[in-house]
Symmetry: C2
Subunit: 387 residues, 2 copies
């Protein structure tokens, strides 16, 4: 019922009954509860269809808040958002290369700060972070760049806040946001986040596909050059050693670019005609493009959206990505692929994490997931977390 | 109703009504039609649950035949199969490097031969072939090894036979057969056919995933080495230039192996200690393994089944595939991947094509497909074909 009001409000009780195929009596009962809880309100009368004009109901967007967190490479961003995904209050904290325990402490501090600002009931906390995440239990199986391994992030934040917590991979959350809130609602979609790490979120048939063990889209550690540079994962020549922000800045060592500089400065240098910088930018784009070409060969998904700080490199980088992607797949597949920089940017990560939380806590079917068979024990652990 | 009898027969009318959630009256009407058409028969009485013992119904496996075709690299195989997928009559014709029109003529000849043998009504024709296939209309968009481009194979075979025709990519048909008839019914599954060409069929959430334009799994033309050998598709360094049967035999030119020899002979030479042959076998396996590692990075699908003539290379090849696949993906993904040679072999292609046909013609939900949004005009073309 709430989902119907969310999608179609203002709407009458009779129309809700028709759309949900519930009886009018049931709908009236549920609506009474929603009115009492402050999630829904009456907003005047609609056109009469013969009898008395019906009272219309709509969602109270500020009836509840959600907390969305995006654990980015350089900044951890948090926001108190309403039920329409509008930010009411935001917090941004520099990571300053914190990882392990220190990064965890920073997450808990941001949660505390946002909870202190909330003057409405908070439904729960959605967190998007890089890495391999067991979304059933909110466990970070492996997040190389934060140096986290088997960190029960969901449980820890739940203990601190007392709230339901949903943890998702950042690229996957962004893919859901692009699907749910984006303009082009294609059934199949890939979002690739390119920052210090590289990961993809894959929407198939309108649902997020996570694979057999939550690892679908972990393209950052595909081996591109078997004799390549050492990666943080301990192996050689992964995509991240060629196309991540870290790789790009490392290749500019000795140039005029400060290795701690934001990528906007690299883009400026390339735009002003620095040939060395431009070459590095194009090589990084081409490496990512080759990986996208393979991804297109496997999935034949026409819409690929790029987000993350490396997208700040802009046009010359994007052109190199597009060119290499098309060259690395069958022409008949590559021709029709649309590869573009995402409009939502990193805000999509917070939005997607919130959407997943709303799906679970309010039963609003915003963000459907393909079921993950999961590994032994995960259900028990999920129940423990829920309890 | 027929699907329920197929899956659960012998079964009573009452039990069918319960499982299908149809009324008893409706079920009795449909069953009367099925009995009259010879698709179902009564087979005695089941245990009484109080009243009169109910009459049980079962599928008449030989009530209808289907034709399944597998357009393989060296041989075009065809079979008249019954409703349980059992072959009643088979035809095998050497391809002798025929392509273009000549290959098409061979297909029509096999259809004629099988139809001449049918002493039961034939429901339709399912065809599995390499290449990019628009399954909505039975159009071969591109099949490099047969030199077919935009060949309306479904329409041509339909005109010759007057029967409904379903055309699918061979690897995709085999993937469906492995899912529907295979022992391990995992929800996610990849089948890779490795022969003159290389292609994958991807089952996601129990449905065949074809991508936005039927090209999902076209991994044979992923660029592996941008300065590599010339591929039949006109580009350089595709996976097929490294790991196909053609590539393996080309690398053995000048050795004792006849370039037209079946791969079993290559396997024998490797087993008898021919170091040069063993190296070529391992290199081909390693190239395929790298591509599988990337596929695992994208999809995190744990079960990968290999079919096609190159699997005749056996153990040393398979070990090289497994090793390279695990080395080319995040260890946490690669560790749990099961990569094995398929038990059904190439028979899976015919089975899968038949299963798709049965789904469409009898409404038996054997072989579900993810919807393909398709390109403009395909629906109209499909209706034209159906009409």
């Amino acid at each position: 019922v709430l989902g119907t009001i969310y999608d179609h409000g203002p709407i009458s009780r009779a129309e809700i009954a028709r759309r949900t195929e519930l009886t009018r009596t049931t709908v009236s009962g549920v609506v009474a509860d929603l009115l009492a809880s402050g999630l829904t309100r009456e907003v005047g009368r609609g056109p009469s269809t013969g009898g008395k004009a019906p009272i219309l109901l709509e969602l109270v967007a500020d009836g509840r808040y959600l907390i969305g967190l995006d654990l980015g490479d350089k900044t951890f961003n948090g926001a108190l958002v309403n039920l329409r995904g509008e930010a009411v209050h935001t917090v941004a904290r520099d990571v300053d290369n914190r990882d392990g325990e220190a990064a965890l402490t920073l997450v808990l501090e941001i949660v505390d700060q946002l909870l202190a600002e909330a003057d409405r009931p908070v439904l729960g906390i959605g967190i998007g972070t890089a890495g391999l995440i067991d979304t059933n239990v909110g466990m970070v199986i492996e997040a190389v760049n934060l140096d986290w391994r088997d960190v029960p992030l969901g449980t820890l934040v739940h203990r601190r806040s007392g709230l339901p917590v949903y943890v998702a991979n950042d690229s996957k959350a962004a893919a859901l946001a692009a699907f749910v809130f984006g303009e082009a609602r294609t059934d199949n979609l890939v979002v690739i986040k390119v920052g210090k790490g590289i990961g993809a979120g894959i929407v198939i048939g309108g649902r997020l596909f996570q694979g057999d063990g939550f690892g679908a889209g972990e393209i950052g550690h595909m081996t591109m050059e078997s004799e390549g540079a050492l990666c943080r994962c301990g192996r050689l020549g992964c995509l991240e050693t060629l196309a991540s922000s870290r790789a790009i800045l490392a290749r500019l060592a000795g140039s005029a670019i400060d290795p701690e500089a934001p990528l906007r400065e690299v883009a400026r240098a390339a735009a002003s005609g620095d040939a060395q910088v431009l070459t590095v930018v194009r090589q990084a784009g081409a490496a990512l493009g080759r990986a996208i070409g393979w991804l297109i060969s496997v999935l034949d998904i026409e819409r690929v959206v790029l987000i993350g700080q490396v997208t700040e490199l802009g046009e010359p980088w994007l052109v190199a990505v597009q060119h290499a992607a098309r060259a690395s797949a069958l022409p008949v597949l590559g021709r029709s692929a649309v590869i573009e920089i995402g409009e939502q940017g990193d805000a999509g990560v917070m939005l997607g994490a919130s959407a997943l939380l709303m799906t679970r806590e309010l039963g609003i079917n915003l963000a459907p997931l393909h079921p993950v068979s999961g590994r032994p024990g995960s259900l028990a652990a999920a129940e423990e977390l829920a309890g």
